[in-house]
Amino acid sequence: MAKLVTEMLKGTLEGIVLALLAGRPAYGYEITAWLREQGFSDIAEGTVYALLIRIEQRHLVDVEKIPSEKGPPRKVYSLNAQGRDYLEEFWRTWNFLRERLEQLREGGR
């Protein structure tokens, strides 16, 4: 079960994080904590961090460094216009996939 969730999450984590950032800007630790609260308890902080670096490189988010009381400055990520377009595409693809899977489950074609 846990393994299956991890596998399925791989393809969708990007969309999940972008959808979260569409709501409000957040930093890495907050994003991981939120995912854990939502039941994705096996998610590694490093995996989320690698994803954040990737979406930054692809210019889907804007990044601002905010000084922190404890430790190094935090990078706060917010969704930009390009990220919003990408998120829309993610939801369209998700709907397509969901519909096909529902049809399969109902035994249709």
Binding site: A44, E45, G46, Y49, A50, I53, K70, G71
Partner: protein, 130 residues
């Protein structure tokens, strides 16, 4: 004059700026608590296998790793929660963000263009196979 001298020196010992960045990275690692230090050393060792060493991509990778572990140490996040149950998966995913200079990137490009060539050869000899 000074730049000429520096240029000469760099051809002998390699880019000074990259050496400085590497030393800074090492100093940051030294300041981490033991458990984080051990984890980051292991990841650095694994990254050598991908072979981009102290190129700009390799250095950015190390600096991003240091950011991750410093943040983790500051928040008190245990190493297991940073690297996950499968550290190899995390490491591979992380390393994919720094393709510049990795030998595996060159091999991936080589595979892609070899397949393009194979496809062209096939379309050229269509109907005359065997």
């Amino acid at each position: 004059m000074a730049t000429g001298w520096r240029k000469l020196l760099e051809t002998i010992v390699g880019p000074l700026d990259q050496k400085r960045r590497y030393r800074q990275y090492k100093a940051r690692v030294e300041r981490l608590p033991a458990s984080y230090h051990t984890a980051i050393d292991a990841l650095q060792r694994y990254s050598y296998y991908f072979g981009h060493g102290t190129t700009d991509g390799g250095l950015r990778m190390l600096e991003d790793l240091a950011d991750l572990f410093e943040q983790g140490a500051a928040n008190g996040t245990p190493v297991r929660e940073i690297v996950g149950e499968d550290p190899v998966e995390f490491a591979d995913e992380f390393l994919r963000n720094y393709p510049e200079g990795q030998w595996i990137s060159r091999e991936r490009d080589r595979l892609t263009s070899a397949m393009d060539r194979a496809v062209r050869e096939n379309s050229g000899s269509e109907g005359t196979s065997r």
